[in-house]
């Protein structure tokens, strides 16, 4: 296709898209004026029914818990896929050999070296805080887990791959990740056996506003936190080992 025809194809498609998009955007309801029956209902009953303040978490882990189960296993499968693809790649050299410390730390000032160390502690605490209080404040297992994973990555930034590999013990994180994913499904199955409905909230609901409250939601959120936190760490571990291998090949 010559550049002329291409330009014409683009101009015509752009005009058609513009002509159809504008009425569509114009027809959208104003911000905040959406009134789905589901939204109103959940907002009205969630706190009373599930002893929870953060309604999005109630939707994620209870009213629409089954969707979250699917999402958890999408993540779990991706991590397993990555680990499977890169299994055994570039691992021996790092675990037994001191890393190229001099190269990494050359030109680093004390501030650059020590700032991530403090950040590691802060992010790890923040991640656990987010993961444990999904029922009270915005956050929950996924967000907390991701923040915790980035705390682990800060170890790499601060000290190097060698320390990261040692801290994030692959065996332990492997098992914890699987345990997190399993706990979610197991809690769902337990509810199925007890009440006949999958993922029904079977735990005692506790007092609204307490750290351990909202029944199963709290435990599901914790399971997701463990899974996502360990999963992200494993992903980073695997990918960073790859870069190390590349650096070694080039050296």
């Amino acid at each position: 296709m010559s550049i002329r025809i291409r330009t014409w194809v683009y101009v015509i498609s752009a005009l058609v898209l513009f002509g159809t998009m504008m009425p569509a955007i114009g027809g959208l309801p104003a911000f905040g004026s959406f009134s789905g029956a589901y939204t109103d209902m959940v907002l009205r009953v969630a706190t009373m029914e599930r002893h929870i303040y953060n309604v999005p978490t109630a939707v994620n882990f209870d009213y629409r818990g089954f969707d979250t189960l699917g999402e958890e296993f999408i993540f779990f499968t991706s991590v397993v896929g990555v680990l499977f693809l890169f299994s055994g790649v570039g691992s021996k050299a790092i675990e037994h050999e001191q890393p190229m410390e001099s190269q990494r730390t050359r030109g680093q000032t004390g501030a650059i070296r020590w700032f991530p160390v403090g950040l590691t502690a802060f992010l790890a605490a923040l991640g656990m805080d987010l993961g444990a209080h999904g029922q009270l404040t915005p956050g929950g297992g996924f967000q907390g887990g991701a923040v915790f994973g980035s705390a682990m990555a800060c170890i790499y930034l601060a000290v190097g791959l060698h320390a990261f590999v040692k801290t994030a013990n692959k065996q332990v994180f492997d098992h914890l990740e699987a345990l997190g994913a399993f706990s979610f499904a197991a809690l769902g199955a337990a509810a199925l056996f007890v009440t006949g409905a999958f993922l029904k909230n079977i735990m005692p609901l506790g007092q609204t506003g307490a750290t351990v409250s909202s029944g199963s939601i709290y435990f599901l959120s914790c399971a997701v936190f463990v899974e996502i936190g360990c999963g992200f760490t494993l992903l980073m571990l695997t990918f960073l080992k790859q870069t190390q291998q590349t650096a070694e090949e080039e050296a």
């Binding site: 987010l130 956050g139 967000q143 991701a146 990555a153 990918f239 790859q242």
Partner: protein, 78 residues
């Protein structure tokens, strides 16, 4: 619509365009990360803190990590 919302909408639109039009993958990645941060702020301003937290996790941690490692592996040849 508050002034903060307007500023963030404009920034998100501008940075979104910048992501598409930047040529070097490394530059693109850092613009994308900034775009993700602004998008997260916009979600926060629009009263969706849960979504904002997820956007921070995915847009400024997961995606940049994958892309950076891929660039390290393949070399930034452009």
């Amino acid at each position: 619509m508050s002034l903060l919302q307007v500023v963030l909408y404009v920034l998100v639109a501008f940075l979104g365009g910048a992501v598409v039009f930047s040529k070097r993958p490394v530059n693109q990645l850092f613009i994308y990360t900034t775009f993700g941060m602004m998008l997260a702020l916009l979600f926060f301003v629009l009263h969706a803190p849960d979504v904002a937290l997820s956007e921070v996790a995915v847009g400024t941690l997961a995606v940049p990590l994958m892309v950076l490692v891929t660039l390290m592996k393949t070399g930034d040849k452009t």
